[in-house]
């Protein structure tokens, strides 16, 4: 009796065997077992077709779910179903202060005999050219900027945001006869936060009104001028408008104007200095005439925030978390998910409640952000993030954005290598070790909040840097950058958040040099091996001998890893040997083999550049 044919297998041979089993049960044909038979040709054909069907069904099923999809447009589509829009390419942004001096040539009366205009205006699309070491980038003004003129004919523009990229525009005309009309912007690399949409509702009246980007349906009325933006195929973006119930519906013939920026992503991060930005464009006065002056940039924040388009694995990781956050910040992971939406150029986020502090501060949430480029986000960016978080936070909760407490880890390594089995010299071996350690530093194990630098891992990593390395003697050391307040009486607290070695024969804490106000001598401090717990101040005399100036310059708590300077008697520092008004304070952990951990808002950063690595030829041994 013939049974049912099972064609659900994915493997060709299994499907074929199922067909053969069926034929065996019929007793009508016998040649199914022989490769050359016609029956075998037919069986192979059916099996192949069944296998193709199974494979296709399997792939279609995979692509139907967020966690298993691999094709970007399917992942994006699945994420859309839970309300997640993948982060677009984001432009690096900088905030500029600049002045336009109309009286630069001293002929203000000739230019404006009838009196000064009330204000100067810069239209969207004008830009600054910024130079980095790699290339030149355009930083665009995307919203109209105006500044009033003072009596001297100077207009001061303050805190103007400029965004890197090419400023483009498009126009669509709403056509009600076209039921399939879509408003797709056919450019990849768009920063959707720079989208500016205006609509001319009556084709005969040359007035257009701005539409704002909406994220959901909450608080929308039939009159709300809103649009939605979604990623569609080929990394393009599609605009959709309201249906007349949620958001205003476009009338037939309405003209949609879209301005946007195509960004270079993270390439333009890190451009610093007012002199790097040069204006290219025109400035209009109150009367609409072009002003024959170029602005002078007086200050510029370091460009930051540029990121690439979010990749598939990131979408799969973040979309469920964004959905779990439900557009509100309650738990710390909610903050993590929403901050990454607001400001994509985030390396890591650490959020904790004020009740966790040593002296609890209830009703406060502390947010620590480590950006992808640089160590800290600018104050302007902090304000932007805080303002945007207002919509998500629980009422009565106060948000405080903090800079990460960066703890640098350095190594003191002596690497032994067998010169019999390598062509490399000492410097090449050191370079190999540095490269390998840099890879380790970039890994997510160390560089994050709550990260750990494991001693054994470092030793193993150095050993693996080259085949000729036989062993290494390595000590980890910690470093904090003490940022000083120049020429200001101050006391300082430096927390390593890791225990410091107390039992060594020499010093465990030491600093780089600095000068006090009104004193040209270079001073240093270190802990006193003869009087543990005290920090002493010293300088070197002309014979390079150490002269102790103050035996009680500060204190050190070895267990907590905490150093207090000038607690009883504040001091004023004029300058430092290290650039950027920084005194580098180094210490050794309590045990040579101790792992160094980051707790709370401490962010570990493995600093290979400032590590001391040396290589020595191994003698008296046959190698590893």
């Amino acid at each position: 009796m013939a049974g049912a044919i099972n064609l659900t297998e994915v493997d060709f041979e299994q499907i074929r065997q199922n067909l053969i089993s069926y034929l065996k049960s019929t007793n009508k044909y016998t040649d199914y077992d022989f490769d050359g038979s016609n029956l075998n040709v037919i069986l192979s054909l059916i099996s192949y077709q069944a296998q193709m069907n199974s494979y296709n069904v399997n792939m279609v099923a995979n692509e139907s779910f967020l966690s298993t999809s691999t094709i970007r447009k399917n992942t994006v589509s699945n994420a859309r179903m839970i309300g997640y829009t993948p982060v677009s390419t984001t432009s690096a942004a900088s905030y500029l202060d600049f002045e336009v001096d109309l009286n630069e040539a001293g002929n203000l009366d000739e230019i404006y005999p009838g009196g000064l205009p009330q204000y100067l205006e810069i239209q969207p699309g004008n830009f600054f050219v910024a130079s980095s070491q790699r290339s030149q980038y355009k930083f665009n003004i995307i919203d109209s900027q105006a500044a009033s003129l003072n009596d001297e004919g100077v207009a001061v523009f303050g805190n103007v945001p400029v965004y890197e990229g090419d400023y483009l525009n498009m126009k669509f005309v709403k056509d009600n006869t076209n039921f399939n009309q879509r408003f797709v912007i056919p450019n990849p690399g768009i920063d959707i936060s720079t989208l500016r949409v205006t609509v001319q509702e009556d084709p005969n009246i040359n007035t257009s009104v701005p539409f704002a980007q909406a994220n959901n349906l909450v608080e929308l009325t039939p009159e709300t001028k809103a649009f939605w933006v979604e990623e569609v195929e080929e990394n393009h973006y599609e605009l959709t408008f309201g249906d007349g119930l949620f958001g205003q519906k476009l009338v037939d013939g309405a003209v949609v104007f879209v301005n946007y920026i195509i960004s270079s992503g993270s390439e333009a991060n890190g451009i610093r200095g007012a002199s790097s930005f040069v204006y290219s464009g025109k400035i209009l006065d109150y009367f609409g005439s072009q002003v024959p002056r170029k602005p002078e940039v007086t200050s510029a924040s370091t460009s930051e925030g540029g990121t690439e388009l979010e990749n598939v694995s990131s979408i799969k990781f973040r979309a469920p978390k964004s959905y779990a956050a439900q557009n509100r910040c309650v738990t710390s992971s909610d903050y993590d998910a929403i901050i990454r939406d607001i400001y994509p150029a985030v390396e890591d986020v650490y959020v904790y409640g004020g009740e966790e502090l040593d002296i609890p501060e209830f009703g406060r949430v502390y947010i620590v952000i480590k950006p992808k480029s640089g160590d800290y986000v600018s104050n302007a960016t902090k304000k932007l993030i805080k303002d945007q978080l207002e919509d998500y936070r629980v009422a009565s909760i106060d948000l405080i954005l903090q800079d990460p407490d960066i703890l640098y880890i350095e190594t003191e390594s002596t690497v032994y290598y067998n010169e019999q089995i390598t062509m490399k010299d000492t410097s090449a071996i050191v370079a190999d070790v540095q490269t390998t350690l840099s890879d380790f530093a970039d890994s997510s194990i160390a560089s994050r909040f709550g990260g750990t630098v494991r001693y054994s891992r470092i030793v193993g990593t150095i050993d693996d840097a080259d085949n000729s390395i036989t062993r290494n003697i390595t000590t980890l050391r910690m470093r904090k950058n003490m940022s000083i307040a120049q020429n200001t009486l101050a006391s300082y607290e430096i927390c390593f958040e890791n225990s410091i070695d107390r039992d060594g024969t020499g010093y465990s804490v030491y600093s780089t040099g600095f000068r006090f106000t009104d004193d040209e001598e270079i001073y240093y401090f270190e802990d006193d091996p003869m009087n543990r717990g005290a920090i002493r101040l010293f300088h070197f005399d002309t014979y390079n001998e150490k002269i102790v100036d103050n035996k009680n310059f500060g204190t050190v708590d070895y267990l907590k890893g905490e150093i207090m300077l000038g607690e009883k008697k504040p001091f004023s520092i004029a300058s430092t040997i290290v650039d950027n008004s920084i005194v580098e304070v180094r210490s050794y952990p309590i045990d040579v083999g101790q792992d160094i951990k980051a707790t709370k808002s401490v962010y570990l950063k493995f600093d290979v550049a400032k590590s001391d690595i040396g290589a020595i030829v191994e003698t008296g041994t046959t190698g590893s």
Binding site: F12, Y29, T30, F34, D35, G36, S37, N38, L39, V41
Partner: protein, 133 residues
């Protein structure tokens, strides 16, 4: 692949002409000698890797298409046809293959003589190999 030592059953295959039997209306069947002749033909005229997931099935005679039509080509073809049948058709024994080039007709004539395992009589199978087949 099934190994046979004696005739214990009939060999029944379908015909790929898919023409119905005029009496029963069933699809035409090929039995014993016709089934095996057809299997040999399939084995010889199929190129390796042509059958899905069975890359070793078939013979390389198609590669000889542009060779000279002479006795040396005929010898190579004999070897290849013999190898192909031995490898792919376990029901056949006492195999003899004779290939004769017919350059004037642009043909090659292959005569295959074999015995079906379990059967007593020899079977002769003639196939004309022409460029169009």
């Amino acid at each position: 692949m099934t190994q046979l030592s004696r005739k214990d059953k009939m060999f029944v295959d379908v015909s790929l002409s898919f023409e119905p039997n005029p009496v029963t209306g069933d699809i035409t069947t090929l039995i014993d000698q016709r089934a095996i002749n057809n299997a040999i033909k399939n084995a010889v005229l199929t190129a390796p890797k042509e059958a899905p997931f069975n890359p070793n099935f078939g013979s390389n005679i198609n590669n000889m298409l542009f060779e000279l039509s002479d006795d040396s080509t005929a010898v190579i073809l004999e070897d290849e046809i013999r190898r192909s049948i031995k490898f792919n058709e376990p029901r056949v024994t006492n195999l003899s293959v004779k290939v004769v080039a017919q350059p004037d007709q642009n043909n090659i004539r292959a005569t295959i003589v074999y015995k079906i395992i379990g059967f007593d009589q020899f079977v002769t199978f003639d196939q004309i190999l022409s460029p169009t087949n």
